[in-house]
Amino acid sequence: MVTKQALYMMTQNDILDRLLRSLDDDAMQNNEAAAEEGELHFTLPDDYFTSFSDRLSKKLEAGHNDNAIGLKARNPLSAPLRIAMAVASAAAMLVLFFSTGFYFYNEQRAIDAQVESIMAYDDAVDSLIYFVGGQNIEEILADATLYE
């Protein structure tokens, strides 16, 4: 009885032997048996090739066009419905576009107003500094008392 280890070694030797032979150009030519040997561990459903060509043939018999052999997915919706859906989606896109634009326009206006008020405040502070002219506020007040 062949042990599992012996079987393993036999398979290994077969593979290594075939690998070695495959390096020799002449040894590989017309070596049908060796080619089949490599396929042994891959199997197939019974009559796979017959059923495969039948499947394709049936699709072809249904009509010699792309749809018949499944190249293009059939659209289950009717043409008027597809047009209506296209128009509705275009309208929805337009509404989305303008509402987004309006929102950002309003936001920008609010920001501009804030900037303007900050600038006005800064101008007022600048004017006060200019008016004071760098003098100590107490001195100014003291000078002011002279005219009371």
Partner: protein, 186 residues
């Protein structure tokens, strides 16, 4: 390699472009070429279900673009090229799908092969597939075409658009890597 009768294939070309004969000629084309194309795809994808999907996609593409066949290469080489491109595209899509998970696509292929009803390899054959999967994708393609397909370098060159010398070198390196993997992991 189970190369279909070239003369029969060449005779199909005018029939494939005729409106009335197209369907029947295509059916004939599928019957003549499905076996080698299937094994070519299967050797890359390992799992029967995936190979079946890609084989269908290949023939759908052939049906759609047979009018563009210019006859620069043989019809079978052209089919092989389409099958190869479809296989590589499928693998790229699967790899993209698995980027969110930490599982390596090659590891996933190996575990799916193990679970596949249509695989009955033993421990050594599993290790052999593991060794093949550690090769870079293009080198794996070259290896499979030569090892499983028993294909001539000349035809491989037409399919891959790579020089025969480069293919021989690539195959040689692949064999050495696999041999080393098998011996080291004993």
């Amino acid at each position: 390699m189970n190369t279909p009768n070239e003369q029969k294939l060449q005779a199909l070309i005018p029939l494939l472009t005729g409106d009335k004969t197209r369907g029947q000629a295509f059916e004939q084309l599928v019957k003549l070429t499905q076996r080698p194309l299937y094994w070519h795809i299967r050797s890359m994808l390992l799992v029967h279900e995936d190979a079946d999907d890609v084989l269908q996609n290949t023939y759908l593409k052939v049906w759609r673009s047979i009018g563009n066949f210019r006859g620069d290469s043989s019809l079978f080489t052209w089919l092989y090229r389409i099958a190869t491109n479809e296989t590589l595209t499928f693998m790229a899509q699967q790899r993209m799908r698995n980027t969110m998970t930490s599982v390596d696509y090659e590891d996933l292929m190996l575990s799916r092969m193990e679970a596949d009803t249509y695989y009955d390899g033993d421990e050594m054959q599993h290790k052999f597939q593991q060794a093949i999967l550690q090769l870079p994708e293009k080198q794996r393609l070259v290896f499979n075409m030569r090892y499983y397909g028993d294909m001539k370098y000349e035809q491989m060159s037409e399919i891959t658009g790579t020089s025969e010398g480069a293919l021989k070198a690539s195959y040689h390196i692949a064999v050495k890597k696999i041999e080393q993997f098998i011996r080291e992991t004993d």
